[in-house]
């Protein structure tokens, strides 16, 4: 009752439209409208320039299909790697105390703010033919990552995993431990508790983190082109294909592929709406 009353008080505070308030509103509204326009106008432009007549044929071109398929493979691969490696990492960061934990967290989250092209150069320095990790990996397994699909997946994982880790860690951190204690007194092992108590409780957050990481991987450009190159069928994902189309004068193809990515982004946003926007 009290909470409802308070919300109504805040939400429905009467506000007389005095001239002074009106002027204040205009001062705020101006920049706000410009801000919205900055985001909306490019999208309108994209839709307006879209080759609606030829969009199907543009998207079924061999190169476009290759890019679509490769993007799907690479982004899902990066998502799988992010979840498989990021879940234990998020758990350790949230629930274990160890020296240097803050440093590890900062380093893991660094790719979120690092320019992707710098990430690509860094990956190349480490996993390239003459990079220390690359040589070591080649001697051990015979694999070379640069300019391969594996390299594209690595680049996308590098950039996307922090988005999953940061969401999962917050979920693990805010987990109610009382249910876990109750499960332990019922004879459940830590693994059983994780599977049947912890995981269901954090599943929505993990799904949201996965959606974020996947969307980020799908749009990855800088690190991929730097580390994996731009080879149709092996490393040329959709963002790379869009760029190449634009460079070679095929703006129709570029826009058609862009619309696909825009649709995916909107779908992710709609999927996360409850989590981010609430219901009010």
């Amino acid at each position: 009752m009290a909470a409802t009353a308070r919300r109504q008080w805040n939400g429905c505070e009467p506000m007389a439209l005095t001239p002074r308030r009106w002027a204040g509103g205009a001062i705020l509204a101006g920049p706000a409208v410009v801000a919205v326009a900055l985001v909306v106008l490019p999208l309108v432009g994209l839709l307006q320039r879209a080759p609606w007549d030829s969009i199907v044929s543009e998207l079924t071109e061999r190169e476009a299909l290759l890019a679509l398929r490769l993007s799907l493979e690479c982004s899902l691969g990066a998502l799988a790697a992010s979840v498989a490696l990021g879940t234990p990492l998020a758990w350790v960061l949230a629930r274990r105390r160890f020296p240097g934990r803050s440093l590890v967290r900062a380093l893991v989250l660094l790719p979120m703010v690092l320019p992707p092209v710098v990430g690509g150069i860094a990956l190349l320095s480490a996993f390239g033919r003459r990079g220390f990790a690359g040589e070591w990996l080649y001697e051990l397994t015979g694999w070379r990552l640069p300019f391969t699909t594996g390299g594209a997946i690595l680049a996308e994982t590098f950039v996307a995993m922090p988005f999953f880790v940061v969401t999962a860690e917050a979920a693990f951190r805010s987990l109610d431990r009382r249910a876990d204690e109750a499960a332990a007194t019922l004879g459940a092992s830590p693994a059983y508790r994780f599977r049947r108590v912890t995981l269901p409780a954090v599943a929505p957050a993990l799904a949201a983190g996965s959606a974020l990481a996947w969307a980020r991987a799908l749009g990855e450009f800088g690190a991929t082109i730097t580390f994996a190159g731009n080879f149709p069928g092996t490393t040329q994902t959709m963002p790379l294909a869009i760029y190449l189309n634009l460079q070679s004068g095929n703006s129709g193809g570029a826009i058609a592929l862009s619309l696909v990515l825009l649709a995916v982004s909107l779908a992710v946003l709609v999927g996360l709406r409850d989590r981010w926007f609430g219901t009010t």
Binding site: R178, E181, A182, T185, L186, G187, V197
Partner: protein, 350 residues
Amino acid sequence: MTLTASVGLSLGGLHLDVDLDMGEEVVAIIGPNGAGKTTLLRTLAGLLPLDRGRITIDGTVVEDRAAGTRLPPEARDVGVVFQEHRLFDNLTALENVAFGLRARGTPRGDARRRATEWLRRVGLPDIASQRPRQLSGGQAQRVALARALATEPAVLLLDEPLAAVDASARSELRSLLRHELSRYPGSRLVITHDPIDAAALADRLLVLEDGTITHDGPLADVTARPKSTWVATMVGLNLLTGTADGTTITLPGGATIIGAAGPGRGTVFVAFRPNAVTLHRIPPDGSARNLWPAEVLEITTTGDRARIRLTGPVPLVAEVTAEAVAQLHLADGGHVWAAVKATELDIYPT
């Protein structure tokens, strides 16, 4: 089914130091807030490590600080009913009850069958498919009880199982608890702050105050001859401590009390009922051997009875009729005389 524990633990300002030895019986632990009741339960369940001591369940050492042994909660044969039911939100009532069995490797069908039987036993045969959110507080606590009982632990620990339940559901849940606890084989330990719950559920009562057990015995013994002010206040008795010499007991302040038959020498408790005290404005000329000057501190009226808290050389509570309060003008305060017959005093060693 036995539980033997010597628990030593310092946590914040609490210093817990408890020796506990239980057979197949129901023991209630009662005590004021912050005395360490829940902390004690958590150490027994393995949810808190000991600083000192040792815990043995059915002859198996589950924790021994000196030897460095410590079994986690899941490896102890212990079941817990928590104050807030702590059911798993994502599971149905039936799955909650079956959880412990499934965790211990019971096949699914068998676990569900046994869980169904337990739900029936706690009087909830129809809510198997409901989630905890859909249950009332009383129902949720019944499911929590069934969940703890389903694994048939050697030691069953209940932490204020009635505290979070509505008053309307409490008496029904209390009688269910009494029924299930009395038929359950094993060591059963119930924490409560309510003497009514303790009386209803347990044969033996432990009083835990400030981290140590101040009284251990049958319920009637603990309430008739309290050994701490907290218990005395709880059961509504006056309790004084003094030094006995024959039938004369001297209080720390110097006032004396005359008993009918003293236990001889040494430190003793003196307990008497508030309604054994008579109050007078002028010193009475009667047979009462004990007569002390006093001042009225506080008057609490319940129905036609009034409890008068008095200060003076012998601090005490008197219970008189509301008529007496009016006749003696006690509400005005001032000096009164409190008289107690020597035969009304219960004197026992500390």
